[in-house]
Amino acid sequence: MDRMDGGDAAQVTRALGGDQDAFRALVERHSRSLFRLAYRMTGNEHDAEEVVQEAFLRAYRRLDRFESRANFGTWLYRIGVNCSLDMMRKRKTESSQRVVASGDDPDASDPLDNVASTDPAPDRMMLSAEVKEKVQEAMKALSPVERTAFVLRHFEGHSIEEIGKALGLGAGATKNSVFRAVQKLRQQLEPLVSTGE
């Protein structure tokens, strides 16, 4: 989401004046990076698409509140993080309700299972199926807040302060969320990657 050139501000002004093509240009410019973020957070292609759509709709509705001095990409990104969090919480609630209702295994229909159906890049093919499965499980085991904090810190390289703002947490709590996420991933994955040396 770092591709926030001066063009964004001009498109926002035009979109505010009712020019839908200008908003379309913003959608085209930012949708891929927003999709990648949403995918990392939700772990599911379908949910990521829904998140991106919802984020752009929210952004459109609030466009008049966007300050032209701010960075449109960053602003949109925050909306995307909130939409992803909402989606993860919704899925978690649905999953627990399903378990209560039917006694099913909550993992059986977890959206993260779809990850395996995507086409991995050749270098990523090196990851064994077992490790891949374990990584999915470990990521799935993180709470929505931990997962968001980890994705934003590890994959997106955001600062603790930025993540704290997006999550509504203080610096200490944000650092702790990143730490707990890494700690949980280590507990789950270290035996696996160590034996594979």
Binding site: R40, V115, T118, D123, R124, M139, G172, S194
Partner: protein, 272 residues
């Protein structure tokens, strides 16, 4: 320098450590910590190697086709969706309670201020606490009450047992729905009190509330029935951070502070 603990290694990895040079020097000299750091890097490399779905070439066009008709129905302007969550009945109770307290603190301050002026004009009569002190005291009582309720939730989670002897258990699952509801209410209050404490520079209160927040968030967002391992995970978090003790200590210090008579003269207002 002592060995780097797990948290220090993670902070070093993400350049969040206060003193990165010292940690770097230690890693250079200490084979044990270096091996630990390498293990951490291997885990993160495995996470990095996970495939990420790439949208199809016509993704932008498809997305726009889905968005365009909705833009017409979602006119720009007041966004109710953001407020809907905040105005949900479950949130209104704690938010309303906090708002009432803040208004009460303000009104009490105004009322006392008026009385205070009258007393000052008369030049005699009993000393009254300053309005600012009254407000602080009302807020301290409210924060004390909040910490009390948070303690109860933490205690109930800490003492819950997955074998059914402590809390109601169904097939190894523990029902924490009551604690969950209370944690959700406390979460909204906690945010407001933390921000107030941060603004007023009360770091002791802000720090503990800052640590309390993610734990309340985890409880609030857990399933209403948790497995033994999920419960033990929550318990470990409460225990490892010494959170219960911190909340208890702060609670008692806040209550002491609230009880302290605030009759010290205010500079420039009145002398003894």
């Amino acid at each position: 320098m002592n060995h780097l603990n797990e948290q220090e290694l993670v902070e070093y990895r993400y350049a969040d450590a206060a003193d990165r040079t010292e940690a770097a020097l230690h890693l250079h000299e200490c084979a044990e910590c270096r091996a630990d750091y390498e293990r951490l890097e291997r885990v993160l490399a495995a996470v990095d190697a996970m495939p990420v779905a790439e949208p199809t070439a016509d993704y932008e066009a498809k997305l726009w086709r889905a968005l365009e008709p909705q833009l017409a129905t979602h006119k720009r302007g007041f966004d109710w969706s953001a407020w809907r969550e905040w105005l949900a009945p479950r949130r209104l109770v704690p938010i309303g309670a906090v708002a009432v307290l803040i208004v009460a603190a303000f009104v009490a301050g105004r009322y006392t201020h008026r009385q205070d002026n009258t007393t000052n004009t008369a030049g005699n009569g009993p000393q009254q606490p300053a309005p600012q002190q009254i407000r602080e005291r009302i807020l301290l009582v409210a924060v004390g009450d909040h910490l009390d309720r948070a303690q109860t939730v933490l205690l109930e989670i800490s003492n819950a047992e997955a074998d059914g002897t402590g809390k109601e258990a169904k097939g190894g699952e523990v029902d924490i729905s009551q604690e969950q509801k209370r944690a959700e209410n406390l979460l909204a209050e906690n945010r407001i009190y933390r921000q107030t404490a941060e603004h007023s520079g009360d770091n002791a209160v802000a720090n503990v509330l800052d640590e309390l927040e993610p734990v309340l968030m985890d409880i609030a967002h857990s399933p209403s029935e948790v497995s033994g391992s999920e419960l033990s995970e929550l318990q470990k978090r409460i225990e490892s951070q010494g959170l219960l003790l911190k909340v208890r200590v702060l609670d008692s210090s806040v209550r002491e502070k609230a009880k302290t008579p605030a009759l010290q003269p205010q500079p420039g207002t009145r002398g003894l």
